[in-house]
């Protein structure tokens, strides 16, 4: 819901979620719930659909990155060894104009951010 504080009043957002049997129904219920309780979200979020990632290579790419990132995170957080460090380094090596945003939130960083997140108080609506 935080997103709608950063979009313009005439922006519209369509969501396409992974058609995963375990999570898809929860996603839909979450979407309905947000639209029900928040008028601004109801205006901005205009559609939701579910797609098979076999037909969307970009979703396969996202799976590629997220799987790699979790391996790196497990090493960063718990020193769990993994074999694909060179691949993560290769993928995320600087190559302008490609821009990377990489964040690993371990225990210390989460604890540090907790009070800031609690104190963040966005306005409920935006004109």
């Amino acid at each position: 819901m935080g997103f709608h504080h950063h979009v313009r009043s005439d922006d519209r957002i369509s969501l396409i979620c992974d058609d995963d049997e375990e999570t898809a129904w929860n996603c839909y219920q979450f979407y309905r719930r947000i639209r029900k309780i928040d008028e601004v979200s109801r205006k901005h979020f205009i559609s939701i659909s579910f797609a098979n990632d076999e037909s969307f290579p970009a979703l396969q790419a996202a799976d590629f990155l997220s799987s790699l990132t979790r391996m790196v995170a497990r090493f960063d957080f718990f020193r769990t060894p993994y074999d694909y460090a060179p691949l993560f380094d290769y993928l995320t090596a600087p190559q302008p104009p490609f821009t990377w945003g990489v964040c690993f939130w371990n225990k210390a960083k989460l604890a540090d951010w907790e009070p800031k997140l609690v104190s963040r108080n966005h306005p409920r609506s935006r004109k």
């Binding site: 819901m1 970009a58 997220s66 718990f78 290769y90 490609f98 945003g101 964040c103 907790e114 997140l117």
Partner: protein
């Protein structure tokens, strides 16, 4: 961009003639790790809509070369598991070389990538972080990254 029948000789459109411009960005995101895992990741890529088709074409051509239908990391990362009739059992180093063309394809066509991972609060090390705040954290991370 505007038709020759514009009333102005300079072809400067008046306000009511101006077409609305719209930038369309496509973002594709996926998670790794469910709530029972100690670490979860949320990652994805963003590009202008016009670049997605070329990405799809190149990605699919790599799959065809490898005689694969799609790339599923739960299988791909097991280097001892054959991926197709062409990509047989490999060492980790060989599997990494096999996957590099996919990484090249991503870097070539997308403009922005985001990789975020966090300790899941159900795991003991950070149980004190409330789940409700993780959504804010995710949003905050995405926005911070986008501003860079």
């Amino acid at each position: 961009m505007y038709a020759k029948s514009q009333s102005s000789s300079l072809c400067i459109p008046t306000q009511h003639e101006r077409e609305r411009l719209m930038g369309i960005l496509h973002g594709y995101f996926d998670e790794s790790g469910k709530v029972d895992k100690p670490a979860v990741a949320f990652c994805g890529f963003v590009a202008a809509a016009s670049r997605i088709q070329s990405f799809d074409d190149e990605w699919n051509s790599i799959l065809r070369v490898y005689e694969m239908d799609s790339l599923h990391m739960s299988r791909v990362f097991k280097a001892h598991v054959p991926l197709s009739a062409k990509i047989r059992k490999q060492s980790f180093a060989e599997r990494i070389e096999t996957l590099k063309p996919f990484a090249d394809c991503i870097r070539k066509h997308f403009e922005y990538g985001m990789a975020m991972a966090l300790m899941w609060p159900h795991s003991k090390p950070c149980h004190q972080v409330r789940r409700s705040n993780l959504a804010k954290l995710t949003t905050h991370t995405i926005l911070l990254s986008c501003r860079e």
